[in-house]
C-alpha cells in the first residue's frame, strides 16, 4: 500500500471534516425550515389542477418509490462501507452500488405514470368539465 506524506493525510482529513460540516449545516437548515413551515410540505400530494380535488395518487406512488429506493441505496452504501471497514484487506476502495435494471424500470414506470397522469389532466382535446375550458373541443363548422 502506498505511503502518502503526512500533509496529504492532513489535507484529506480536513476536506472530510469540511464536507461533513457543510452537509450537516445544509441538513439542519432544511430540517429547520421544514419544522418552522418555511418549506411548506402541506401541498406535497395535492392535485394542482385548481379543481379542489384531494391527494394525487400519481404523486403518492412516486413519493413512496423514491423514498424506498433512496433509503435502500443508502443502506447498501453504508453496509458496503462497514464490510470494508471490518475486512480492510479484502476489497479496497468502496464504490457506489450498481442499480439493477429492474429498479430503473420500476422508477421509470412510476415517473412516467405520474407524467402521463399530468398530461391527461391538462392535455388539450381530452375535454374538461367546465364549459369554455382550455381542453374543450371546438365545435365543427356548420356548412350552409
Amino acid at each position: 500500500m502506498a505511503q502518502y506524506p503526512s500533509s496529504f493525510v492532513f489535507l484529506e482529513l480536513l476536506a472530510g471534516y469540511v464536507i461533513c460540516i457543510l452537509v450537516a449545516i445544509i441538513g439542519l437548515v432544511v430540517a429547520w425550515k421544514i419544522a418552522t413551515g418555511q418549506i411548506d410540505l402541506s401541498t406535497l400530494l395535492h392535485e394542482k389542477d385548481g379543481s379542489g380535488a384531494g391527494a394525487s395518487m400519481g404523486r403518492f406512488q412516486l413519493l413512496i418509490f423514491i423514498f424506498v429506493i433512496a433509503l435502500s441505496f443508502f443502506l447498501v452504501v453504508i453496509s458496503n462501507i462497514k464490510v470494508i471497514q471490518y475486512r480492510p484487506g479484502d476489497g479496497g476502495v468502496p464504490t457506489l452500488p450498481e442499480v439493477p435494471q429492474g429498479v430503473l424500470l420500476l422508477l421509470g414506470i412510476s415517473t412516467s405514470g405520474y407524467a402521463v397522469g399530468k398530461a391527461i389532466q391538462h392535455g388539450s382535446g381530452t375535454g374538461t368539465e367546465q364549459p369554455g375550458g382550455a381542453g374543450q373541443q371546438p365545435e365543427a363548422k356548420k356548412t350552409p
Binding site: L41, L45, G54, A55, V68, V116, T126
Partner: protein, 111 residues
Amino acid sequence: MSIIIRIAIWEGYAFAFGLCGAVLLQILTGSIGMRGLIEGRTPGGLKFLSASRAQLLLATLAAAAQYVHLAWQNPQQLPDVSRQWLLLFGGSQALYLGSKFHGRRSRRFHI
C-alpha cells in the same frame, strides 16, 4: 479516519431518515393532506370510491413492501425487481391511467 466515516454515516442516517420521518409525520398528523386519495368525482361534484385508485394504492404498497423486504434481507447490493412485479405494477398503472383517460374523455368522472 474511522471517526470521520462514523460521523458521515450518522449524518447520512439523520438526513435520510429525518427527511422521510418529517414527511411521514406530517402525513400522520394531517399536515400533508391525504384526503381524497382513493376518491373520484363526478362532474356534479359527487365523490365516489375509485376502484382504479384503490388498486394502484394496493399495488404500490405491495411492491414497496416487497422491495424493502428484499433489501433488508441482503443489504450488500440493491435487489433487482422481478419481471412479475414490474408487470403487476405496470399493469396497475396502465389500468389507472386508462380509467383516468376514459373518465376525462367521456366527461363522466374525474379521478
